[in-house]
Amino acid sequence: MERETKMRRKRLPKKQADGLLLLGGILLTMLFLFPLYWMVTTALRPPGESFSNPSFFPSRICFDAFVLKNEHGVSLLTYLKNSIIVSVGATLITLCLGVPAAYGLARFRSKLVSVMLFIFLVAQMLPSSLILTPLFINFNKLGLINHHLSVMLSDATITIPFVVIILRSYFKDIPKELEEAAIIDGCGAFGTFIRVMLPISYPGIVTAISMSLFMAWGDMVFSLTFLNQEKLKTLPLILYKAMGELGVRWEILMAYSTVVVIPIVVIFIIMQKYIVSGLTAGSVKG
């Protein structure tokens, strides 16, 4: 209806207006995502081409910049493996603790619920520099410095609140009647949660998994503070270190950036429908 009136006012046939809007949208998107294009193409240019006057397209595709061994003698694959371990570990912790908490906070109402919700909301806005020193001191005592577990546990302090807040409003939108029916059919509260709630809310769960993978994957500050052995470092940390050490080898730096970014882009495009709807369902309602 709205579309029809708008088009009538503009006196453009719907098809043409549609095409113009689509064209404009594509141009806006290309302009906006240009930094990513420039990153990937710089990484794929033959050595030296970034320094001379680079054209919009690389003169030829060249994978030289994706050096497998860096000057510390550690393979890029090792950093990749570390990043996968840390982000998968943090995501598992997040799912085990965050998903049930989101459900509990969505379904029950009391003073205590508000207090706990308050804790998760405060945690969401916490600057990481606030907890770094206390965590460093305690991890040091526990012998967890230079151990991936310290980074996983710290990443989870960011991902759990995020997941709880998003999933809580997701669960709230699911009618209670479904659970009540399941309980009458003899499912316990936990059985209902696992057999009824989780399957229904899989778009929300997919969002939660993707977002906590992305957040943990991108962490630099916890790795920077808790990991100083070369063979334990993660990709974002190595990207930061390389910027200091390699200086002007931009094609290698952009290759590192590409390796950091590509998995996120791929997962995002596959899961786009779920992630976008899950994110908005969660955040607008608070």
């Binding site: 945690a123 509260a189 630099m220 952009m254």
Partner: protein
Amino acid sequence: MELKKKWIFYAFVFPGAVYMTVMIILPIFYNIFMSFKDVNLMNFARGGSKFVGFAMYGDIFSRSVFWVALKNTLVYTLLCLLFQFPIGFGLAMYFSKSFRGAGFLRGINVIAWMIPMVAVAGVFKYMFNTDIGIINRILLGLHLVKKPVEWLSHGNSAMAALVIANTWKGVPFNMILLATALTTVPADLHESASIDGASRLQRFLFITVPILKPAIISVLTLGFIYTFKVFDLVYVMTGGGPGSSTEMLSTLAYRYSFSEYNFSQGAATANVLFVLLMLVGLVYIGIVLREDQA
């Protein structure tokens, strides 16, 4: 109903709440405790740090770098919001028009929000490079500047580069939340207003904005919080420099604790950052909790 039993609630929420208490709430108190002592590299391992009351706060406040960092953090945050909110709003309006591919294109732009900050910093540092950066190449090519701009070597332009990089990451966040809220604006309201002779601007100001108010407030408060606690971007892109012209409260706190090993100084600085964040954060928390009661 079994759902109403209290212990089940505890069983669901407790593990997560205990985790957050141990990893977040206790460290907050530990930090407060530490800011009243003089923990540094000398007495960190051996112990023997003593209570100094508010002396550490007096110490950090007496240094001009603290006030510079505070000003930088505020300027950076306000500039980022000033750009990312209107741009995000504009894109939200554009992609809310019903044309083929609108939903897909809107979704694809959200990718920028998902890119890790360290990669954003790396890519923009490259694009702002004086000699080979694409931005200078474009500016020179269009004859907008006579010689390459040394973006990251001067205070104001380094700040501008940070704001642009963060705005790029922040725009989709504003766009997607506002676009979702726009779907709640009833179309017939616009239609009847336009029959009554309301202009496009009037309809925007008096119909769209009031209906979007809750979303606008939460986008602005959340945006403020995420921007105000910036760390990775500044640490990687400028390191707080040149000089301390882009030093932020978070990078200053980190430097005190992990470069100079003055842990109490770092804790005191981080606490100030936290208190300032909470001033705005409580507005946001208030909205969420109030909506929860409704």
